[in-house]
């Protein structure tokens, strides 16, 4: 009997040990596999140890400015540190009047300072928008990374395919689209609060004017802006017009006439509520009332997204107006 018991006990203990080993091994395997977003994608291809290609000196020099090193983080993002030469004095951020020297006057400068608020205007701005504004964010980020001043310290709450209508639903609800703030999806009104912005430049509508009637589009716009104001009572609202489509990509209701009608309604909505309407569209249109091809980055696709040249026109228009 005792013999049988010891055999049984040994077997049980052995089973216990075996199962613990198997589970530990399983965990190790798990930690080396890829985070998969698609069930049918191969993750770990067979690796080979091919000799790495040598980078040319030119390419390497370019790359060294892009490859991140921890020590360079704080130094790599200096905004507004450009040197301002005499010919650029009129764009200086300084509010101090320039020193007048005998025989020299700065009539243009004095005139500009009298009416303009300076580039700091955009420091407390947040841009809310769809894929068109995503392009603006990328342009601005690129300029800033090159050391250029671009829209002050303006921030962005943008998402591809977002509109006045689909941004109203709760996060996770069907067909709703929301921007991300620091990697997390967020309701626009909460995002505005997180950024601490005092001015909200909204450019939505490109994903609304075909999906809804103008009336419903305006109701959605009013609702969204109402939520932003309710959550952030001190903000000033700037509603930017919907930007145009290139002639070759107009189809059905997706045309510049419909965009114009939507923009006219947006302008009325702004006037009725005391919000500022900003006409971006006119700066981007040609004589045919369509989006100029040279400002479009996706002429073969949707024909609505901005090239760098288009972003520059947009930014120039904003800075000329507000700085």
């Amino acid at each position: 009997m005792r013999k049988h018991i010891s055999i049984l006990l040994s077997a049980a203990a052995l089973l216990g040990l075996l199962s613990s080993c198997r589970i530990t091994l399983g965990m190790d395997e798990l930690s080396t596999t890829a985070v998969q977003t698609s069930v049918d994608s191969p993750l770990f291809e067979e690796s080979s140890s091919e000799a790495a290609p040598e980078a040319s000196t030119e390419e390497y020099t370019e790359l060294t400015s892009l490859i991140f090193s921890t020590a360079a983080v704080s130094a790599s993002h200096t905004v507004g540190a450009e040197k301002v030469g005499p010919s650029e004095l009129e764009y200086s951020e300084s509010t101090e009047p320039p020193t007048r020297k005998p025989g020299r006057t700065f009539p243009n400068l004095i005139q500009k300072n009298k009416y303009k608020t300076g580039k700091e205007f955009f420091d407390d701005v947040v841009f809310v928008g769809d894929s068109v504004s995503l392009g603006l964010r990328n342009y601005v980020t690129n300029q800033r990374n090159k050391g250029a001043e671009c829209l002050g310290k303006a921030q962005f709450l943008v998402a591809g395919s977002m509109g006045y209508g689909n941004s109203l639903g709760a996060i996770g609800s069907a067909n709703s689209i929301h921007p991300k703030y620091q990697g997390k999806e967020i309701m626009i009104e909460d995002g505005v609060q997180k950024t601490g912005a005092k001015k909200v430049f909204i450019m939505l509508g490109l994903n609304d004017f075909c999906a809804y009637s103008v009336d419903t589009g305006m109701k959605n716009a009013e609702k969204l802006i109402g939520r932003i104001i309710e959550k952030n009572p001190d903000v000033k609202i700037y509603v930017q017009s919907v930007t145009p489509v290139i002639k070759a990509k107009e189809h059905g209701r997706f045309n510049n006439q419909s965009i114009d009608a939507f923009n006219a309604a947006l302008k009325n909505l702004c006037n009725a509520n005391g919000w500022t309407y900003v006409d971006v569209a006119s700066s981007l249109k040609g004589a045919d009332n369509c989006f100029k091809d040279e400002y479009c980055s996706d002429k073969d696709a949707q024909g609505v997204h901005m090239s760098y040249a288009g972003c520059k026109v947009w930014i120039d228009m904003l800075t000329n107006k507000y700085c």
């Binding site: 006990l9 985070v35 977003t37 291809e45 060294t64 990328n138 980020t141």
Partner: protein
């Protein structure tokens, strides 16, 4: 005798279950992988072989929090490239400070792909299709994400720089 036997059996089973439960909150084990070149050179090779379809620009480590929620202090070395229009091609290759940081970064990039997929579903079916098969690859402290029509080829080149 039967009582003793039952007790011993219960004890043995408890031992076995304890082994299962011991990994509930595992600390991420440090996995060392051998990468034969710098991330910069891997990117050069990829961009030589597969030019991006759209105008592109580079993000800095400081931009990673805004674009992906990735904290700069988690990054040891990186390259992140986006197309200018904002929602097409994306390449991110990061050497994290350690395997735990890499897991965290991979999770954020995985969330980013899922988010982009949701945004593109009814908007750009072609891009949605690309996103459906986009993955985040993690090897020890190295994390990579490729969103491109040529993402499989990119991953293949990237993989060729790693040895067991």
């Amino acid at each position: 005798m039967k009582k003793i036997f039952s007790l011993l059996l219960v004890f043995a089973m408890l031992f076995a279950f304890a082994s299962c439960g011991g990994k509930d909150n595992p600390s991420v084990p440090e996995i060392t992988v051998n990468c034969t070149d710098s991330i910069g050179n891997i990117y050069l090779k990829i961009s030589e072989e597969i030019p991006m379809e759209y105008e592109k620009f580079n993000l800095t480590a400081n931009d990673m929090i805004d674009y992906y929620g990735i904290k700069t202090e988690k990054i040891s070395e990186m390259i992140a490239v986006q197309d200018a229009c904002g929602y097409k091609d994306e390449i991110v290759m990061i050497k994290a400070n350690d395997s735990a940081a890499a897991e965290e970064i991979a999770d954020l990039l995985g969330q980013h792909i899922a988010y982009q997929k949701d945004s593109m579903k009814d908007y750009d079916p072609e891009q949605y299709k690309i996103l459906t098969s986009s993955i985040v690859d993690i090897k020890g402290e190295y994390v990579a994400m490729f969103i491109s029509a040529s993402q499989d080829k990119m991953l293949e080149i990237y993989d060729s720089y790693f040895t067991d």
